[in-house]
Structures are given as C-alpha cells and as structure tokens.
C-alpha cells in the first residue's frame, strides 16, 4: 500500500522536552488517530511535519516527496486545522474566501460557502462573535475547500457538541472514500477515533510507543481484571502495564488469546482507546 505520509526518525530538542526518533507511516485511504496526553509531543510532531517549526532531525515525506524540498507543492494539497491558531478574529468568514482564493491554486469558493451553509455559519459575522465550536467548524471548512489530498488536523473536534462532531466525522469519512487521500488526526476525544480511525499512533513523552491498525489493537490488546493474589502469579513479560485500584488490579495485555491460554482466563475485557491511554501513561510495570 502506498504511503501518503512517512515520518522517519523525527527528533527535536527543547529545554525540558524532546521528540525522540518519531517514526510512523500513513497509507493512502486511511485515517490515523494520533493520541497522547497533553504535552506528549502531538502538536510538535504536527508542526514539524508542516515545517512550522524547523531545525528538527529526521525525514518527512508527504505524497512521496520531501517536505522541505517540495514544500510549496506539498502544501497546495494539504488541509490544516491547528489547535487554537487561525485567522484574526476581526475578519469575517467571507473575507477568508477572499484571502484563500489567492493562497491556494485549487481554492473552491462554492465548496467553501457550501460548507458554511452546511455548518450553519453566517458568512457576514466577525469571527470573534463565533462560539468555540463555530470557529472550529470554520477552520474545518477552510481546511477542506481547496480539495486537499491530506488532512492534518490538530484537535479538530475539540469544542464541538456531539452532533457537530458526528457531522465532522462523517465529512472526514467521506473524504477518504476515493482511496487517494489520508487524514492525520490528533484528538483527546478517543471515542471519535474509535469510530473513524484505521490506524492509531500513540505518543508519550516525545516517543511513539505504539503505531498499529485499530483492528489489531482491538483484537489483540485487552484488559485483564484480577485480584492482587492472581496478579502476583502473572509473569512480568505477559503484561505491558498494570494499575491497582482499591478492589482489583487491571493489566494491559498485548495478546489476549495467548494470555487466556497461559493463565486459563475465560474473559478478557475489550480495550477502549481511553483505557489504553490511561494504562499506558499512568500504569506501572
């Protein structure tokens, strides 16, 4: 399968934080959920991919092209939503059309105004009068209106109510239907990713600790709930992390079936992305 985005050994050092050899690949026609707690390095990774921040080590290829050497060409085909970064709020949504039609060669004014109508966004009101959710929808409309092939979205659903989130998720789902496009989507709302993501990439403290298809994750990973005495009998290499609660222990296991066989366990709970995040970050080894 051809990759639309390849990140290889991306490293970036700040005082007190470091991106450590980030690598992942997003095949065409797929949506990748990029998860991790606040400060884990999601936005730094996204900004590096987009060359918003420079001086990083490593290689980023988009549409098979180097993101620095072919920056202009690549960016014509990328739609971007950045967390809390957008047009000055003194502007009107219709101004964005006036500006962007001279920024992107493929800007489609009709499509942009269609999105505004679909999202119930008045085009003649200053952005500063918009609610947080409306601003987010406006950012999404602007990111989609030049017929991009790759969407890079940092927290695109934050601030949206469940109905708007569903609307937006459906748009992303439609977007990848032609199999030539791709979406990299960072989000804290893991339930959204469970609905649409084909791949999950998990970053923690500047390191990728997991990058797999969602199906693999859901089929293979699981949570074993047991008593403390049962937990003591489990080999360390058979679980990734564990967490003790008042009444039981929760073990994150990488291979449900093997664990079942080895320890004669009948049921292992299916894992949600939220459980996975919490156990990976807060669990102990």
């Amino acid at each position: 399968m051809e990759n639309i985005l390849e990140v290889k050994k991306l490293s970036k050092k700040y005082t007190g934080f470091e991106l450590k050899n980030i690598s992942f690949e997003l095949p065409k026609g797929m949506i990748m959920g990029f998860i991790g707690e606040n400060g884990a390095g999601k936005t730094t990774t996204i900004k590096s991919i987009l060359n918003i921040i420079g001086n990083y080590k490593g290689e980023v290829k988009i549409f098979g092209l180097d993101n620095k050497k072919n920056e202009r060409e690549i960016k014509e085909d990328i739609g971007v939503v950045l967390d809390d970064m957008f047009f000055p709020e003194i502007l009107l949504p219709k101004d964005i059309n006036t500006i962007m039609k001279d920024v992107y060669k493929n800007w489609d004014s009709d499509l942009y105004f269609k999105y505004l109508r679909d999202f119930n966004l008045p085009k003649d009101k200053q952005i500063k009068t918009y609610s947080k959710g409306m601003r987010k929808k406006l950012e999404i409309a602007a990111s989609l209106s030049h017929h991009p092939k790759l969407l890079i979205l940092d927290e695109p659903t934050s601030g949206l109510d469940p109905i708007a989130r569903n609307e937006v998720i459906d748009i992303f789902r439609d977007f990848i239907q032609n199999e030539e496009c791709g979406v990299l989507l960072s989000s804290h709302i893991t339930s959204d990713l469970e609905h649409i993501a084909d791949y999950i990439t998990f970053i923690n403290d500047g390191e990728i600790i997991l990058s797999k298809t969602k199906d693999e994750l859901i089929e293979q990973y699981g949570i074993v709930k047991c008593t403390e005495s049962e937990f003591k009998k489990v080999d360390k290499q058979d679980y990734i992390k564990y967490k003790k609660t008042k009444y039981e222990c929760e073990l994150l296991v990488e291979n449900k079936n093997e664990f079942k066989k080895k320890y004669n366990v009948n049921t292992i709970d299916k894992i949600s992305l939220e459980d996975l995040m919490v156990l990976m970050v807060k669990g102990e080894k």
Binding site: K47, L50, N51, I52, I53, G54, N55, E71, R72, K75, E76, I78, V80, L82, D84, M85, F86, F87, P88, E89, I90, L91, D95, T98, I99, M100, K101, D102, V103, Y104, I152
Partner: protein, 210 residues
C-alpha cells in the same frame, strides 16, 4: 502573496471611520496651515498596521500562515508591501488635497516645497516602519514598543554625550552641498532602509518557531 496583502487590508477596514475623521482633521488643518500635517495620514498607516500585528499574534496567525503554500516566505513580504501600498495611497490623497486646498487658499501651486514636505513625510513614515517591523518580528508588538523606546532613548543619550566631543553643526554645514540633491538622495535612502529592514525581518521570521 496577494491573498496575504488582502488579509491585512481586510483587517483594516474596521478603521474606516477613524480614517475619515483623520482625513477631516487634515482637511481642516490644511485650510489653516496647508502643509504642516502632511505626515499625518502616512504616519497613521504604520500606526494602524501595528494593530494587524496585534491581531495576528492574538489569534496565533503566524503558525497558521506557515502551514500555507509559501506562507512563511510571503508573510513578511506581504506585511511590508501592504504598508507601503497604504502609505502610497495616503500620500497620493494628501498630495491631491494639498494641491486643491493650497490652490484654493493662495491661487498658486508651490510644487517644490510641497514635494519636499511630502518626501519628508514618506521618509519619516518609512523610517518608523523600518525600525518597528524587525523589532515586532523579534519581540512582539508590546515588547517592540519598549524596545523602540530604549533604542530612541539610547540614541538620544549617545548623541547628547557625543555632542560634547564632536561638532555636529560643522558636519551638517559640510554636508550642505547635498541639499540640492535631497530629492534624489532621500528616495534612495528610503529604498535601502526598507530593503535592509525587510531582510532583517525576513531572517528573524524564518528562524522563529510558532
């Protein structure tokens, strides 16, 4: 880049009433004294353009613009061109008004003195722009104001100290022969000054991480 220039102009359209008031003030003053306020409108261009920097910074526009095709490359260029265009427009308006009002008052047109005044106004305005913009790109709007104050104060202080040891008056008298060439020298200085300022701003912007 045209899109980004349009963006700055669109951001300024909210200042339309302020511009009308200033225009009215200028017309009234011009009837009294003709040319002394020729710098007013061009000077206001730079002042109002500063508000676009504030909005850009508040909405973290710079990170977003860097994600657009040629966004980083064109962002600084667009800001300089938008300001220069605005200055040119206001200079043209000021000149036309000055000619009309001057002729109405005295029934004569003194092109030479008007040219010098207008050139002086453009020089003062572009000097402000050339100093302010790199400072804004480096420190942000708020800190840049303080930085400019420190620089101006520093220059005044150094000038004051040096004046005790250097005879500035004789230097100025020595350069008096240049007076006849001012209408050629000043435009060259303006272009060089803006070019250097632009290059510094561009270098700062290219290194900056948003």
């Amino acid at each position: 880049m045209i899109g980004l220039i349009k963006k700055d102009f669109l951001m300024l359209k909210g200042n339309f009433k302020t511009w009308l008031i200033l225009l009215f003030v200028y017309i009234v003053m011009a009837f009294q004294e003709s040319m002394s306020l020729a710098f007013l409108l061009p000077f206001m261009c730079v002042v109002t353009m500063l508000s676009t920097f504030s909005y850009d910074s508040y909405n973290k526009w710079d990170a977003y613009v860097c994600s657009l095709p040629d966004g980083r490359k064109n962002s600084v260029r667009a800001k300089y061109i938008a300001t220069i265009l605005l200055i040119l427009v206001t200079v043209i308006i000021t000149t036309i008004l000055t000619i009309i009002i001057g002729y109405y008052r005295t029934k004569t047109i003194n092109l030479e003195s008007m040219g010098e005044t207008i050139m002086g106004a453009i020089f003062a305005t572009t000097l402000l722009q050339s100093i302010m913009y790199p400072a804004i790109y480096k420190f942000g709007v708020e800190k840049a104001r303080i930085a400019i104050f420190i620089v101006v104060f520093g220059f005044a202080l150094i000038g004051g100290v040096l004046s005790k040891y250097i005879d500035f008056e004789s230097i100025i008298q020595g350069l008096a022969f240049l007076e006849n060439y001012m209408m050629i020298i000043i435009p060259i200085i303006i272009v060089v000054m803006l070019y250097i300022s632009y290059k510094i701003s561009e270098a700062i912007y290219n290194r900056k991480e948003y």
